[in-house]
Amino acid sequence: MNNAQTKKPCRFFYGHGIPRVKLEDLAGKLIVVEGADGSGRSTQIARLVDWLETGGHPTVQVGLKRSTLVSKELEQAQKGNILSRTTLSLFYATDFADQLENIILPALKAGFIVLADRYIYTLMARDMVRGMDDAWLKNLYGISVIPDAVFYLSVQPQELVQRNLAKNATLDYWESGMDLGLSRDMFDSFLKYQTAMQGAFRKLQKTYGFTIIDGNRPVGSITKDLRKKIRLVLAEKPATD
């Protein structure tokens, strides 16, 4: 029997999954990059897309708040800061589910590489910091497909604050966790919130086992590191350098 040699990639959902989806059909790869604003996430993703596409891999990008269904409404609600925590959490889950079903799953089925600019982990970490129940979150995101690789770009909050200010001259309300009332001072709040977020990520790492990448290093060496790891994920079809 030759079947034993043709290794079919085993794919799973975290929980109940999506009704009527055949996991064995999802031949593509799902690669997730997580990290705070200023962690170099977007830079690295742009470089990875270049590298993958040059290497002949069809690539699709997804990210938070990009669904056709609710992205606009979510943006509006966030600006007014009028939603309570469960509502906001479910709204984000709706946004995620819409992209999961309409972009991620079809792309994986078509054999694409899906690069996710953040996935369920950021959403869960944000909610954990806001006191949502871990078991509730685990059930909610049981719809999601387990990625082939997850990289968390870890950068010290002190460094994040410098990078965010250098880029925007201001700190973002939500990335500073101002809704939590940790401090009225935005600078203090940012540091406290980002520290709490890192704690939540460490906790999630224990359950979901993603790869932590030291994001305090120069851009180029992080890219190199990521390529090396992704090459392993793509094992059967190595990309060119």
Binding site: G15, H16, I18, P19, R20, T68, L69, V70, K72, E73, Q76, A77, I82, L83, S84, R85, T86, T87, S89, L90, F91, A93, T94, A97, D98, L100, E101, D133, A135, W136, N139, L140, G142, I143
Partner: protein, 249 residues
């Protein structure tokens, strides 16, 4: 899951559930009128009426963008918004809250659409259980006839057309409603539904409902003592959607 009374809320919540055309909305409306006249601090809340989530829901429905998963999640979002911003504070303030549909509508409908029951129930587990849940149980044909008599234009999701049960919306609606009824019946015992015979005449049902409420809830405690008016009702999303349709035409 615990009820609001078990969680020591000063307020009480009563929900009505049942198929479209079971007469539940009429009954809860008449109950509300009576409680208002009795000087009770009462608030009425409808399924699918949160302002913020409304535009996303109606866009999703009109453009048929919803899958069973997103259908379930967007309704959970809508419910959470009403729950956190209206129901919880009102129940803390000692109101008697009447809900036309509660989490059981999602439990029944989303499961019929193919979502795993544990997933749906887990998502709604932040909500306390009603202190009283009335289930208006009709024979399937009775409620179908009430809805279908006038041959109304059934909306895509309302008729369960997304389930591809039939290409005929009326046939699809029949099958869909039948399956929802099975779900309700299955939940009756577990959630201690008070089963109402909704084939009975309206007045008789209302007197049963009123008696039940005054037996189970010590209404004296919910009398309004201040000259404050009752909180305004929110205009249900459906009405506005209809207005938008008219404006667009």
């Amino acid at each position: 899951m615990k009820t609001f009374a078990e969680q020591n809320f000063p307020g009480r919540l009563m929900a009505v559930e049942g198929l479209d055309g079971s007469g539940k909305s009429t009954q809860i409306y008449l109950l509300k009128r009576w409680l208002e006249a009795e000087g009770i601090k009462v608030y009425f809340s409808e399924w699918n009426s949160s302002e913020i989530v409304k535009s996303a829901t109606s866009k999703g429905k009109k453009r048929e963008l919803l899958t069973p998963t997103t259908f379930s999640l967007i309704h959970a979002t809508d419910f959470a918004d009403r729950y956190e911003r209206h129901l919880l504070p009102l129940l803390r303030a000692g109101y008697l809250v009447l809900c036309d549909r509660y989490v059981f509508t999602a439990f029944a409908r989303d499961v019929v659409r193919g979502c795993p029951p544990e997933w749906v129930r887990g998502n709604y587990s932040f909500a306390a259980l009603p202190d009283i849940t009335l289930f208006f149980k009709t024979d399937l044909e009775v409620s179908l006839n009430r809805i279908l008599e006038g041959r109304p234009k059934l909306k895509f999701f309302e008729a369960g057309m997304d389930l591809r049960l039939s290409t005929d919306p009326y046939e699809s609606f029949r099958i869909f409603q039948g399956r929802i009824l099975e779900q309700y019946i299955g939940m009756s015992e577990e959630f201690k539904f008070v089963v109402m015979d909704a084939n009975e005449n309206v007045e008789k049902q209302q007197s049963i409902v009123r008696k039940l409420v005054s037996d189970k809830i010590d209404l004296k405690k919910y009398r309004r003592r201040s000259p404050l008016p009752l909180p305004p009702a929110f205009q249900p999303a459906e009405v506005k959607e209809h207005e938008e349709d008219l404006a667009a035409a």
